[in-house]
Amino acid sequence: MIKLEDVTKEYPGETIALRNADADIGKGEFVFLIGPSGSGKSTFLRLLNKQELPDTGRIFVAGKDIGKMSRRDVPKLRRNIGAVFQDFKLLSNKTVGENVSFALEVIGRPRHVISTQVPAILELVGLGEMSHKYPHQLSGGEQQRVSIARAFVNRPLILLADEPTGNLDPQTAIGIMRLLDRINKTGTTVLMATHDRGIVDTMRRRVIELADGHIVRDQSRGVYE
């Protein structure tokens, strides 16, 4: 589903965020990207939906070399890749329902699709009753559920989560991990960047460890160490 071949990413100012990275992630896998702050986890994720472009190497998503993709095809790529962030990126002037509908509206989905899919996904993330609330009326965990609903409502093949539990207390984080696990069980490939030792050690999934831009470990059913 995702393949990196000798990928290097350097930012202006000579920061090399990813060095000669190779990785092969199959459909339906759940992968933790771990490593200290600044080790290149976010960069790894941003390369996959073309928020960043690599300096060298090739990246394949669903069999396609995304480096050869024209600018016009980038939106199609992104429709297949949901993204969730530590800071949720919810729109404060829209209700929960509107935040989720927005993701479908702006890719031109017809109204009848939106009116059936949005309630269904809110039910799935456990926010069936919250549709008319605004983000500031929700707890952090609930806000992250909204953002997961928005990322998943279009049923993407891949879900990228960049420290989704970074702002949440451990109890709330467990709930979010259960949700991501459920999404993974529907066949969606999940990549999650984190430096939460507890979560990695309990879940026992594949672990790709980064240090200073190098992939230093790639282990199935790994722990944090």
Partner: protein
């Protein structure tokens, strides 16, 4: 690509009311620049009408008193015919002048009602051999002394002066219009950039979930287009008022020769159309540039 009209309408409406003072400033700048452009166009069309009225070969016009005696009229004809300086002259009879008059004021029936067909002055169109202005003027002075001649009008001189003046005025206004169109484009550009900045989080989400650039762009471009068109609407009102003011002035001063500056409806309609189109285009394109530059950055 599936655009949802209700989505575009909703977003555009939100943008327009988000920053009312900037929207108003933009609309006014567009209105001012297009009013200048419209005034320049008014003058151009007026000058064109003026030149139509005086055919090229007519160098001056000898107006005859409406109550001229037949003897005096015969004397004028004789003098013109026998003059070595005149290549051609033509008497324009009362019916013809009145017909011209009717044609000319077809849009203003009230003016026509005031004119008694029997009191319409008649005139000679005179073409001198020597088209030099000084010679023509000397000739004209001579004819002005004849009994029954009410006035001599030097078409060439008159039109030349008027043309020079109006051409200059229209050029100055065109240049001013160009500069202020530049200013409105820049203001529009900034207005749209501000609108995009206010919505940067929404745009970030849109890009993340795979909205196409056109989908992001369109509401902003339509916003620019609406602002431009509203500004143009104000300029159309200003130009119509200006035209009416000129028309009133012309009638009051009986500057009949300038009556071509009182434009008819089809001329006004086409000027209005051009102004609206220009306003919408200024808005649509400057917004398009602003959005494209934002999305490419």
């Amino acid at each position: 690509m599936a655009f949802r009209l209700d989505y575009v309408a909703k977003e555009t409406g939100r943008n327009l009311v988000r920053n009312p003072s900037l929207t108003i400033a933009t609309v006014l700048t567009v209105a001012v620049s297009l009013t200048l452009l419209g005034a320049a166009m008014l003058i151009r069309v007026g000058v064109a009408g003026l030149n139509d009225r005086f055919r090229d070969d007519v160098e001056f016009i000898v107006w005859v008193d409406p109550d001229v005696t037949p003897e005096h009229l015969a004397l004028i004809v004789d003098t013109l015919d026998s003059s070595a300086n005149i290549s051609d002259s033509r008497y324009v009879a009362r019916e013809e002048v009145y017909a011209e008059f009717q044609q000319y004021y077809r849009e203003s029936p009230t003016v026509l009602e005031l004119v008694n067909p029997d009191e319409v002055p008649t005139y000679f169109e005179v073409v001198p051999i020597e088209p030099d202005l000084a010679v023509v003027q000397a000739l004209g002075k001579e004819y002005e002394k004849l009994p029954g001649v009410f006035k001599v009008q030097y078409a060439a001189e008159y039109i030349k002066k008027l043309n020079d003046f109006t051409r200059l005025a229209s050029r100055v206004m065109m240049i001013a219009a160009l500069f202020s169109a530049g200013a409105s484009t820049m203001l529009m550009y900034n207005t749209i950039r501000t609108a995009m900045y206010a919505r940067r989080r929404e745009i970030e989400v849109m890009r993340l979930v795979g909205a196409t650039n056109w989908f992001i762009r369109l509401p902003f471009m339509i916003e620019g287009m609406i602002q431009g068109a509203i500004g143009a609407g104000f300029s159309v009102i200003a130009v119509l008022l200006l035209n009416r003011g000129i028309g009133k002035q012309l009638n009051k001063n009986e500057l009949k020769l300038l009556a071509s500056f009182d434009l008819n409806q089809s001329d006004l309609l086409s000027i209005s159309g051009w102004l609206l189109l220009a306003g919408a285009m200024i808005g649509f394109l400057s917004a398009g540039i602003a959005v494209t530059r934002y999305l490419d950055a």
